[in-house]
Amino acid sequence: MSARAARSTASARNAPAETTPPEPHAILERRYRRLLACYPRFFRCDSEDEILAVLMACARPGQRWPGPADCADLLGSAVRMRLGPGRSSPPRAVTRAVRLMRVGAATEIAGLVIALATASSVQSALVRQHVTFLNGHWHNLLLLIELAVPIPFGLWLWLAWANGRGHRWARSAFAGVFGMYTLIVLGKLAAGAASYAPADLLVVGVQWLIGLAVVLLLFSRSAGTFYRHQSMPPAARGG
């Protein structure tokens, strides 16, 4: 019998009669189920009924509320399962890729510092090259750079976290973002950024190389096995 079938049978067994109040064990089971809703879906599909059976076996006769220690244990375990390392340890290629993505996030801060430090020279070079470029344009551009930095910074870290946990969509998302970034870099080069903002372009080049290394690592053979493995339910993984 599957976990879901066993649950429906158990629910039917514990369903309260229309005229009688629910039994204490049915109330307790319902409250435990609410706590178990905090666990990741893959775990609930696979093991919710099993852990519920153990919780009910450990309960005292007539108990209606989960004890504080059990509540803390269940909630803590759910948080650990959601936020902790993935269901199995990632291979070295993925670990390295995750580290590189964190370095990539740090380069966003470095890029902002360099942009602010070299702002005046970039501004004068732009004014020299483009006679229509006004100070107002420059201040707007600088403000945009400052405001936009948290987005790529967060994106690096978010994708690092998701890839470390073996989410396949995160690998595809990183490849997509890298493709777009490559187009942006080519656009900057075509616009002659090398002549007016060489320091900024250096940071961009470093970020592009980091991105390339991450893509190569994420699409290596060992990483592919890891992503396929992580997307399977535990029972299909040989459990």
Binding site: M1, A3, A6, R7, T9, A10, R13, F43, S47, D49, E50, I51, L52, A53, V54, L55, M56, A57, C58, A69, D70, D73, L74, L75, G76, S77, A78, R80, M81, R87, S88, S89, P234, A235, R237, G238, G239
Partner: protein
């Protein structure tokens, strides 16, 4: 290896057991010192399954509830043997170093 993990693997060393059986066995093995709670147990079981150290031996339905029995895999036996050997060596070293100190103190 954490103590809880070591005790869970030890509980499974003599044969397959279900979740409640593991909790009871761990308490007995530890002389009542370690009381595993279901949340902690199933987080550990999930990790040990993913790492290939334990596997589901069989499933049964008891009182309309699913009951899974877990067993050690060969990799799990190997890992437990290595950990037990390491702990025994550490304990032997500790006792050996305590012996002359005790002798000198008396």
């Amino acid at each position: 290896m954490q103590e809880a993990t070591f005790l869970i693997l030890t509980a499974l060393a003599s044969g397959s057991q279900h979740g409640y059986g593991i909790i009871a066995d761990v308490r007995e093995i530890s002389g009542g010192d370690v009381h595993l709670r279901p949340g902690t147990l199933y987080t550990a079981l999930e990790r040990l399954r993913a790492d290939g150290l334990i596997a589901v031996d069989r499933e049964a339905v008891v009182d309309s509830r699913l009951r899974r029995y877990y067993r050690l895999t060969p990799a799990g036996s190997e890992r437990l043997t290595a950990e037990a050997t390491r702990l025994r060596a550490n304990a032997a070293t500790a006792l050996m170093r305590l012996s002359p100190a005790r002798g000198a103190a008396t």
